[in-house]
């Protein structure tokens, strides 16, 4: 993996099934039923602290394009982030020939 530092960010999202019901009597709300069916989706987002060169950006792109690509990276605070690579965003930094990169990883904790 790259030698530059990452800034880590993690996001957990739940997809609840919420069923609101009608009330039998006027002037009151119906009850709501909530079903927690699906495992939460855990996504890690890692942003590069400094710019990447063209060659470094190309190597990250190759990682995303490869099938079953996984990555394990350490951020600037020494934490380790691991998962399936699900996305890469490259943004050219104005006034330089460097790229700012954002790498998205999906946690593999719930995989069979």
């Amino acid at each position: 993996m790259a030698t530059w530092e990452y800034i880590g960010q993690s996001q957990v999202e739940k997809d609840l099934v919420i069923r609101k019901t009608l009330s039998r009597t006027a002037g009151s709300y119906g009850r709501s039923y909530v079903y927690d069916v699906q495992a939460p989706e855990v996504t890690h987002t890692l942003q590069t602290e400094v710019g990447l060169t063209d060659a470094e950006a190309a190597s990250l792109r190759a990682l995303v394009l490869a099938q079953d690509g996984t990555a394990s990276v350490t951020d600037n605070a020494g934490r380790t982030w691991a998962g399936r690579v699900t996305g890469l965003s490259l943004e050219a930094t104005p006034g330089s020939d460097l790229w700012r990169a954002t790498l998205s990883l999906r946690s593999q904790a719930d995989e069979v």
Binding site: D15, V17, R19, K20, T21, L22, R24, T25, G30, R31, Y33, V34, Y35, D36, V37, Q38
Partner: protein, 416 residues
């Protein structure tokens, strides 16, 4: 709340279910379908032989499906797979089928005509033993049923016989998980009171349709009663035994708590009771005496015939109705009851029969959160709507889906 689905293959191994839909319907048993997320590991070996998941088991091998939503669990009767749709994109597919009882009722061709006894009890017994299942229709054990007629019309499906019996008897059946799947027959009760617990619903839709509606009903009573005796209230005391004054094998009393005997039971201890409940039909020996079992008011006994009957030729009434459907479906055909019906009996039967034929013209659709405890026949209420009884229940469980949909038929005067 939790949602849980367990589908076991005939070996007892769990299958990877993504979502499942099951439907239970009056007189139709269960249908089910389950989406599998991927092919279970144990079946991948089938690919080497170009065979699919269905080829791994016998045609009537049973699967087990259990649904849980919140505090309620629903275990379906034994299920068979009829269709396997393999998705080569995801590696999974859709398994679908029906319950074992309906499978056995609908799949086979058979011969019923060799069963010379054509009472409802004999037919049901023959079917039950043929499909290795338990099924009993209460109160109609001695009902003659024209099996030959059904056979002649070219249908060889056992379900046709069962449906015909149900239509005539004004009964219904459902398939229960008990005993590994069983037909439970129960009287069609269109006067039932609203059931206690009512589910919560997200949507309630009421439908009215005039299509296929039966608008006329003719009842022709062909009983030929030749004898009659009037029993005054002074004699209508419990325990009173009196000679009829004539001999008859077919008797009907306007008062039900009367039994018929071939001799005076007070004098001759070996006298045979040949009829009870206020009627005797085609008794093996002629009745000469009656006994009042419960004190009542005056009543009339009518009777005829000292010879055994040729079935279906006497003492019957015929109901014809004009459904306007050609050709007539089995349940639309005229039918004959070999009974001695009272007026109240005929009226009640006629209303029930008409309701059953017209039930599809006034229905309600319900949809809401999973309600696994809801049984068929449950009477639902909703403000501003007529009471209705549950005729079909569909449960759908899976990611993003958790619902119970119900079709019910309006009850009471709203239906006529």
């Amino acid at each position: 709340m939790d949602i849980n689905v367990t589908l076991l293959d005939p070996n007892g191994d769990p299958l990877p279910v993504e979502s499942v839909t099951v439907t239970q319907e009056v007189n139709r048993g269960w249908t089910w379908s389950a989406v599998l997320s991927h092919m279970p590991h144990g079946y991948t070996v089938l690919e080497d032989t170009d065979r699919s998941l269905l080829d791994a088991f016998l045609e009537d091998a049973t699967f087990t499906l259990t649904l849980t939503a919140g505090a309620h669990t629903l275990t379906l009767p034994p299920l068979v797979v009829q269709d396997w749709e393999e998705d080569h994109g995801t590696g999974g597919g859709v398994l679908s089928g029906i319950d074992l009882v309906m499978y056995r009722l609908t799949r086979s061709s058979h011969r019923m005509m060799h069963a010379q006894v054509t009472t409802s009890a004999a037919i049901l017994e023959a079917i039950a033993s043929d499909i290795d299942m338990y099924g009993k229709m209460s109160n109609y054990t001695s009902w003659s049923f024209p099996v030959c007629e059904v056979e002649d019309s070219g249908r060889t499906n056992m379900l046709v016989h069962v449906e015909r019996l149900c239509a005539i008897a004004c009964q219904e059946f459902r398939c229960l998980p008990a005993y590994g799947g069983a037909l439970e027959f129960y009287p069609l009760d269109i006067w039932a009171a609203p059931s206690g617990t009512q589910p919560d619903w997200s949507s309630v839709v009421r439908r009215r349709a005039w299509a296929d509606r039966i608008t006329s009903l003719d009842i022709v009573k062909t009983s030929r009663m030749t004898e009659a005796v009037v029993v005054h209230s002074a004699l209508s005391q419990a325990g009173t035994v009196r000679p009829l004054g004539f001999s008859a094998r077919h008797l009907q009393s306007t008062y039900p708590d009367v039994t018929f005997w071939d001799d005076d039971p007070d004098v001759n201890p070996s006298a045979n009771r040949v009829g009870s409940g206020g009627f005797a039909y085609d008794a093996p020996v002629a009745a000469t005496h009656f006994r009042v079992e419960k004190t009542g008011s005056s009543f009339v006994i009518r009777g005829t015939g000292i010879n055994r009957l040729v079935p279906g030729t006497d003492l019957a009434f015929c109901v014809n109705h004009d459904s306007g459907i050609e050709p007539a479906r089995p349940a639309d055909e005229p039918w004959v009851e070999q009974w001695l019906p009272s007026q109240a009996y005929v009226e009640a039967r006629t209303q029930t029969y008409l309701w059953a034929r017209n039930r599809h013209t006034h229905t309600l659709s319900w949809e809401g959160p999973p309600c696994l405890w809801l049984p068929l026949g449950h009477v639902l209420t909703w403000p501003g709507c007529p009471d209705s009884r549950v005729e079909s229940i569909t449960h759908t469980l899976g990611p993003g889906q958790a619902s119970t949909s119900v079709e019910s038929a309006a009850l009471g005067s709203a239906q006529w």
